[in-house]
């Protein structure tokens, strides 16, 4: 039982990373209706920007705020420059665009900051939380920030005019345009917000996985998986999905014989697919009903 509780705790701690990333993934999915494969790389780049700012002597919280602003602007810029012209292109062409963006961002970060791993500071400290060795104050802080973001997003989408306009633009673009919503800018705004949320995720994750250009590779896969498991239409589902994936992955690694680190990912993915076969819209997602 001791082992079980510990593994669940450790799973929640890693799950927080996935939850963060999944939240960013769902955010952009809501805005543009595609999964952005370059999301992880954009988050990594943002994290490097904040690291660079700190190297130049900017205090932690200032660099945090500056990075958020830069990421927000950067996200909008990427949308305006690269993806707005592709808005009418086929979906698969857009996906190819994400892959291209992935390659560019990864390569530029590698050249600018090279591939050696870097320490990244945490504002929460890394002492054990309440005497538990498995979960540190940083990880608790991470869970806290993720939940705060979730509540913030909920309030934004539910109670502000612009949040409502964004939802409308995503759900029924044509009707939204008819009532005067500038759908094109709503998409850009979605990119900006997703990029900023990604930056927060990157900054929170970096102290755990260390900072390097490929730090997001594994995390993004889990983030996608968590988002899909929870349901792409539900940010709450994405966060829950993140924790579930984290816990399950840990338990599978502990209790199923023969599952080393190598097979953790395939097993986690296999479970997610099994869930999807029974609940195709994810655990918390609303089934999309098509009227013909």
């Amino acid at each position: 039982m001791e082992l079980f509780t510990n593994q669940v705790l450790a799973g929640i701690a890693t799950g927080a990373i996935y939850a963060c990333m999944a939240l960013a993934v769902v955010m952009i999915y809501q805005a543009i209706d595609h999964l952005n494969f370059a999301q992880g790389e954009m988050a990594m780049f943002s994290t490097f920007i904040s690291w660079q700012l700190m190297q130049w002597g900017v205090p932690y919280w200032w660099s945090f705020l500056l990075t958020l602003a830069i990421s927000f602007a950067g996200g909008i810029l990427i949308e305006r420059l690269l993806f707005k012209p592709l808005a009418k292109a086929p979906v698969l062409t857009n996906v190819a665009g994400f892959i291209a963006l992935f390659a560019i961002v990864n390569s530029v970060a590698g050249l600018t900051w090279d591939f050696t791993i870097k320490q990244y500071p945490t504002p929460f400290g890394s002492s054990p939380f309440l005497g538990s060795q498995l979960i540190s104050t940083h990880q608790v802080g991470m869970i806290g920030v993720t939940l705060l973001m979730l509540i913030g997003l909920y309030l934004f989408f539910q109670f502000t005019r612009i949040g409502l306009a964004m939802r409308a633009a995503a759900a029924l673009p044509e009707s939204a345009r008819l009532v005067g919503v500038n759908t094109s800018w709503m998409i850009a705004l979605g990119w900006g917000m997703a990029s900023a949320i990604g930056a927060v995720a990157g900054i929170l994750i970096a102290p755990v996985v260390f900072l390097e250009p490929n730090m997001m590779g594994g995390v993004l896969v889990y983030g996608f998986a968590a988002a899909v498991l929870g349901g792409l239409s539900s940010p709450l589902g994405a966060v829950m999905g993140g924790f579930l994936v984290g816990v399950f992955e840990n338990l599978a690694g502990t209790y199923i014989p023969g599952v080393g680190n190598e097979l953790k990912l395939p097993i986690a993915l296999a479970l997610i697919i099994t869930v999807l076969v029974f609940k195709p819209a994810g655990l918390f997602g609303r089934a999309i009903v098509k009227r013909v």
């Binding site: 291209a100 097979l263 395939p266």
Partner: protein
């Protein structure tokens, strides 16, 4: 904060409709290209011949994806898994059962067909992004499964397997590379012709009707589940043959050659070649083989960025891939004739 109204009216399908006739090149053009391919190896170096062979092999794999996505409208990021399955089937049969290399290919195709067909069953319930994730999982799992300890006796574990490169038969006076080039060319042509005919057949029309409107297709009496799994099987089978060919030509298989990167490359090949346009598969294959090399030669440190920029340029200029170029060229030729 769920999105409000979710009962949207039928939206445009993810893969745009490509009419049957627009899926191929004309007979004349095809024959000219075939003749050019037959003559080229005489004039170029062995390394170029090898690269062209690889283009054809990747072309077959991209073509298989094209049948699945462009034909039946299903999306897959798991093609690398079937490619690996085919490659390993060929390699293991050649190494452990001393089988003739040419005979291993149909078996590789059959094994992959079976795997694809079985995988298509549970995947039936998934569409779009969810199907992408499921196939992605398959691609991620495959290299790990090939490394499993209890398979090591056959698969060679992390080390992989080295196989013998076959010589030209009947004492033909050509080198190994050139022989394999013609061997691959023959198989490519056979698969290409077969695929074109498949898409023109009753089954092909069923695939396309599912792609364009699943509900309408089932109302017209198309067994949607059957044809969707069949498309998965056929696509996986052809990919398996491509994998088997690659094992013969490269003379080496290892788990890490078949990662998700391969699946992504095949996907890019399909987009660059034009989704649903079969000849484009080979153009796309050339793109994914040569462009990374070009990018590397332009800048070593920034090769990824250069590749990304080149890819962006291509999709900006021709969002519909090589198919668009072909259509424009055809129209210009038509004008010249007048």
């Amino acid at each position: 904060m769920s999105v409000a109204a979710e009962d949207t009216v039928t939206e445009a399908p993810a893969v745009e409709a490509v009419p049957k006739r627009a899926m191929t090149l004309g007979t004349g053009t095809s024959l000219v290209i075939l003749a050019a391919l037959l003559v080229t190896p005489v004039f170029v170096k062995n390394f170029v011949v090898f690269q062209m062979t690889m283009v054809m092999i990747y072309g077959i794999a991209v073509l298989a994806l094209n049948i699945l996505t462009g034909g039946s409208g299903q999306f897959s990021l798991g093609q690398s898994a079937f490619y690996a399955l085919g490659a390993y089937t060929s390699a293991v049969l050649m190494e452990n059962a001393n089988m003739n290399y040419a005979l291993t290919l149909p078996i590789a195709g059959l094994v992959s067909f079976g795997a694809g067909y079985l995988f298509g069953k549970p995947a039936l319930r998934l569409t779009g992004i969810y199907l992408a994730l499921a196939t992605f999982a398959l691609a991620v799992a495959m290299p790990q499964l090939l490394k499993l300890h209890f398979l090591e006796h056959w698969t060679g574990g992390v080390q992989g397997l080295t196989v013998m490169k076959p010589d030209a038969p009947f004492g033909l006076p050509i080198g190994q590379d050139k022989w394999l080039y013609y061997f691959t060319l023959a198989i490519s042509v056979a698969i290409y012709v077969g695929s074109v005919n498949l898409l023109r057949s009753r089954s092909g029309r069923a695939f396309m009707s599912i792609r364009d409107n699943e509900i309408a297709a089932s109302a017209m009496g198309v067994d949607v589940a059957q044809y969707k799994t069949l498309a998965f099987g056929v696509s996986a089978g052809i990919t398996g043959i491509a994998g088997g060919l690659s094992a013969i030509v490269v003379a080496f298989v290892a788990p890490d050659s078949y990662t998700i990167n391969l699946a992504i490359a095949l996907f890019l090949g399909m987009v660059v070649g034009g989704v649903g346009w079969l000849p484009g598969s080979f153009v796309g294959a050339a793109f994914i083989i040569f462009v990374p090399n070009i990018a590397e030669s332009i800048s070593k440190g920034l090769s990824g960025a250069v590749f990304g920029v080149l890819l962006f340029i291509v999709i900006f200029l021709v969002p519909h891939g090589a198919r668009q170029v072909a259509i424009v060229a055809q129209q210009m030729l038509g004008k010249l004739k007048k």
